[in-house]
């Protein structure tokens, strides 16, 4: 994985694409995240790190509108989106590859990809988009008529990412793409994430696998028990002793 080339070719700007401001979320009486603030600039990969239960998925669900923050706001291109419904948020070109088995197991691979294109801005690009996804993930092309439930874990993850790409995202949300996968497959998926980013897509990568995520990310945000404990550039996080100890297992 070659990080430096990624950084150079994206030509980072300082324009904030997504801004999360003091967002708190409750599930019933339990506070899942507390006053989380961070932003994502155009062209970046930002990784959201933390242990299981730290609140990473909750942040993602708040961004995609599946839960409403009880405090704070989320804005995208200077528009507040935290009051919108999930399908309206997808129409703003924020697409998500959900965690784990976040695909429709009762539909075929092709049908999954087709639903990913539900909000695609131009229906005429469908065939081209489909071919691009198949180029990225040749396995999906071979298995397009198969039921998605018959795919292996790695293929299901590829399908989730491919399906999100069918919707022409400007901001791609990836929820633990490495979860439960073999190391070679994780490496391959991370390579693809980096490639998509080099082609200009902004990515929010939620990961438990901190070391690997920080190697392809520009910046990282670290959560612990619902609180944001630190954030900064990937290099800085990789060189901080505490972070190395707590999250990188050293």
């Amino acid at each position: 994985m070659n990080k430096s080339s990624g950084v150079q070719s994206t030509g980072l700007t300082q324009e904030k694409l997504l801004e999360v401001e003091k967002v708190s979320v409750y599930y019933g009486a339990i506070q899942a995240i507390r006053e989380i603030s961070f932003h994502i600039a155009q062209g970046e990969i930002v990784t959201l790190l933390g242990a299981n239960g730290a609140g990473k998925t909750t942040v993602l669900r708040a961004i995609s509108g599946l839960i409403k923050p009880s405090q704070g706001k989320i804005s995208y291109r200077n528009e507040i989106i935290s009051k919108l419904s999930p399908d309206q948020i997808v129409r703003r070109r924020i697409c998500q590859a959900p965690e784990g088995r976040g695909i429709f197991l009762n539909l075929s691979v092709f049908e999954n990809l087709d639903l990913g294109a539900w909000t695609a801005p131009d229906p005429k690009t469908f065939d081209k988009d489909l071919n691009q996804v198949f180029e990225l993930f040749p396995r999906l092309g071979e298995r397009q008529n198969q039921n998605a439930g018959t795919l292996s874990g790695g293929e299901q993850q590829m399908l989730a990412i491919g399906r999100a790409l069918m919707g022409h995202p400007e901001l791609l949300l990836l929820d633990e793409p490495s979860l439960g996968l073999a190391p070679q497959i994780i490496e391959k998926i991370f390579e693809i994430i980096q490639k998509i980013n080099c082609d200009g897509m902004t990515i929010l990568l939620v990961e438990q696998n901190a070391l690997q995520a920080l190697h392809i990310a520009h910046r990282g945000v670290v959560l612990e028990a619902g609180n944001l404990v630190t954030q900064g550039t990937a290099q800085m996080l990789l060189s901080t002793d505490e972070i190395r100890k707590a999250y990188l297992g050293e």
Binding site: L66, P86, D87, Q96, G102, I103, L115, W118, T119
Partner: protein
Amino acid sequence: MMLEFIQHLVNGLSLGSIYALIALGYTMVFGVLQLINFAHGDVYMLGAYIGMYTAHFFQLGQNSSVLALIFTITVSMITCAVVGFLIEKFAYRPLRKSPRINVLITAIGVSLFLEFSGQLLFGPDPKFFPQIFKPSGDWSIGELKINPLQILVFFISIILMSVLQTIIFKTRLGRAMRAVSFNHDLASLMGIPTHRIISYTFMLGSGLAGAAGVLVGLTYPKIDPLMGTMPGLKAFVAAVLGGIGNITGAVIGAMTLGLAEEFLVGYWAPTYRDALAFGILILILLFKPTGLFGVKQTEKV
């Protein structure tokens, strides 16, 4: 012997296809909402009345033809689809986040509302359904006599079910319906407007119930505001028999029930007609609660 058997077979298939049209609505709504829409049988009753009023208004009883029948069915289907849309929008949608038991009680409430509004509007006495399609006599094959109406009912049902099958398995709308029935949140992450897809599901199911109402009026021409209760319950049993949520299962369950009823009535014990369905329900719930074609619901981790 053989003649009698074929006669019962034809009756059973015709009855079963009517149950199937109603059962599809139950199973589709259950698929997307996990709700047993107890008002569904009453939508079928409305379908019969709308068919009757349409036929009276356009005086189709005097000029009976296949066209008159198709026209009546179409009007009834469209009106029932609108009714289904309104029921979902005003009765069920506000309860989308409520516990399931609240929605179930509401469904029973809507059912009572439709039944007694029906008595108020149409009068409690049975009415005669006009003969919008009058066959010129029974078809005879040797000694076998078959009422063409029953064949017609069967074929119209098959056509409607094939159209539904195509919508669900070949179109994007159907794909979205299946996605919503798999998981609402996941579907909304695709940008699918889940509320609207649920509305469409109600409209499709109610439209089929409307068609069933007209077809029943045609073959058993006495309709009353409470006529939806028993066929509604039986179609529900058929849907459970086939595995609720499963489209093919609903059709097979309904056909099985229709045939079983006819053969029971024909060969053994006519008075037990209505008991049969509930006997089947009890057996299914005891021994195979997922139905013949249902899959076990897997809990998401």
